[in-house]
């Protein structure tokens, strides 16, 4: 068997596997496009008879998704901004030095990274109630997500900073810049890509966050899409085409971003997560 034939066969096999693996995603979109009766047909149809494109604007209107998506965006943007501003500096310091204190700091950061949100939410809820932060529910969720996700950001961005040679910063110092100036004009521009990838990953995470939003936000008009989707799925629902339409609208921007940037995201993820 020639090398080319072998490669072709492998590619076909891998494509088949990918098709099987990504089938749930396909099924989400297809179900959304089916009519109520076609959805429950046995055997199920793998291509809709008459694609119901109008379901998307309909569900969007029906569930007031613009508000849900807006809230998700506000929460995700706020979290990313807070994490990027605070986490970038911390990652830089943790990358620049190598001593006992840095090891202790890294260890603490890794420890905080592992605390499950559903276990931390009880004390956070009580503390936020006591301090009155809960009166601003979206801010409360942003703070909670920032604390939860910052360690992950730090781990990724620290790997980026480690790849910026120390001499470049030293050269800038000798060239007459201050530490702060050298950080701003030399180190940050060189670490920009890594920071961006980490920020995108955090944004995706925060955009889909559920536990904190569900627990901290009572007002429907402030809830993000994840909570909205959860409320849509009652225990004995039979509106699956609408639910899948909701899920499609919610998830498509994330998927599109990911597919566009996947090479960068994957390399950013792999450079940091195991180091």
């Amino acid at each position: 068997m020639s090398e080319t034939t072998k490669n072709r066969l492998l590619l076909v096999f891998a494509l088949l596997l990918a098709a099987v693996y990504l089938f749930p995603l396909y099924w989400m979109y297809i179900t959304a496009l089916k009519t109520g009766s076609e959805m429950f047909r046995t055997p199920p149809s793998f291509w809709p008879d008459e694609p119901q494109w109008s379901i998307f604007p309909f569900v969007f209107q029906l569930k007031g998704m613009n508000q849900f998506l807006w809230n998700s965006t506000v929460i995700a943007s706020g979290s990313v901004a807070l994490i990027a501003v605070l986490g970038t500096g911390a990652s830089y310091v943790l990358a620049r030095y190598r001593n006992v204190w840095i090891d202790v700091g890294l260890f603490l950061v890794l420890m905080l990274q592992v605390l499950p949100a559903s276990l931390m939410i009880t004390p956070i809820f009580v503390l936020f109630t006591l301090t009155g932060i809960l009166d601003f529910p979206r801010t409360a969720v942003i703070l909670a997500i920032a604390a939860k996700s910052m360690p992950f950001f730090i781990v990724l961005v620290r790997a980026t900073f480690m790849s910026v040679p120390m001499e470049l910063e030293e050269a800038a110092l000798v060239d007459g810049n201050s530490r702060a100036g050298a950080f701003w004009s030399i180190v940050l521009p060189l670490a920009r890509n890594g920071i961006l990838v980490a920020a995108i990953l955090i944004f995706m995470q925060a955009f889909g966050e559920f536990v904190y939003s569900k627990s901290l936000i009572q007002e429907i008009e402030l809830q993000p899409s994840s909570v909205g989707l959860n409320a849509f799925m009652g225990p004995n629902t039979n509106e699956w085409n609408r639910i899948m339409a909701f899920a499609s609208i919610y998830v498509t921007p994330i998927l599109a971003t990911f597919v566009l940037l996947q090479r960068r995201i994957v390399s950013g993820l792999t450079s940091g997560a195991l180091k």
């Binding site: 040679p165 001499e167 470049l168 030293e170 050269a171 800038a172 110092l173 000798v174 060239d175 007459g176 810049n177 201050s178 530490r179 100036g181 030399i186 521009p189 060189l190």
Partner: protein, 355 residues
Amino acid sequence: MTKQIEFSGVNKHYGAYHALKDINLSIDKGSFVALVGPSGCGKSTLLRSLAGLEKITGGDISIAGEVVTTLPPRRRDVAMVFQSYALYPHMTVEENLTYSLRVHGVSKAERKKAAAEVAVTTGLTGLLHRYPRELSGGQRQRVAMSRAIIRNPKAFLFDEPLSNLDAALRVHMRKEIRALHDRLGATSVYVTHDQIEAMTMADHVVVLRAGVIEQQGRPLDLYDKPANKFVAGFIGSPAMNFLPATVVEGGSVTVDLGNGPFSLTIPVAAPVGAKVLIGIRPEHLTLTASGEGRFDAVVSFAESTGSTTFVTTATTPELMVVETGRRLVATGDRAGLAFSDASVHVFDAETEQRL
């Protein structure tokens, strides 16, 4: 001569590790000083302390009469060329060159003018709008140099700037850096592990070992009168031969090179019975017919580069002889070794200091 740079009683500790031990060194304005020594000797630490990139833990450093010990790098007005060149990869050559001017608030027009001027002297015209990744190793080296020159600083610091270049380019850049130094009338401090670089480029060589200055002086003084065994062995290539010997009466010594003791008539200023090391450079030993030299030895190895012959003897320790031209000797031949009294260095075997 005015002193441009002074180290007085400089110490540097990294935790328990004592990297620089009470360094005193003054550097004249306009001179080219090389700091040389094996890796880990503290030469780079000393240079980085001068630049302000390392904080010293004791003593003082002054530049042009001003004590700079506690000042950050940017207030010291020195320029540095790094081993890795440290060119800013996200800036063009021009932006790299003028970065320091930009930091100091020089206008854009003036920056452009300065970059163009420097580019002419270092042959970078035409490359100003390239990025560092688009340059060859030699060109990057030039950019690193130009970035230092453009500022007219109080001192130029070089941290092994030639070690990433190939041999031919290295020899060429040696001359170029020295010529540049002379033209600018600058004060330069140059760190290298390569003693040939130090000897050929510098006015003043400082030999460091384990954080201590072993000797400093003009290059040929170090070659002619090494202060101790370390400097004697470090300066000169191939390294100096050391013959363990015992002083006997009548101005001579007994030497044992593993084949039984024999005596040599060498005047040594040491008491009878003292253990000494007789140092003779390979280029000061000459081969003669057996029995016609000061002593005989068997050749264990001979190699020739065409212009020079390197002969190793089957003795303990081995001796190295360097002869110009070609000598037809082969392994196993017995030869005599000759040298003049003037070329002999004597060191105390215990303290390794020159006697």
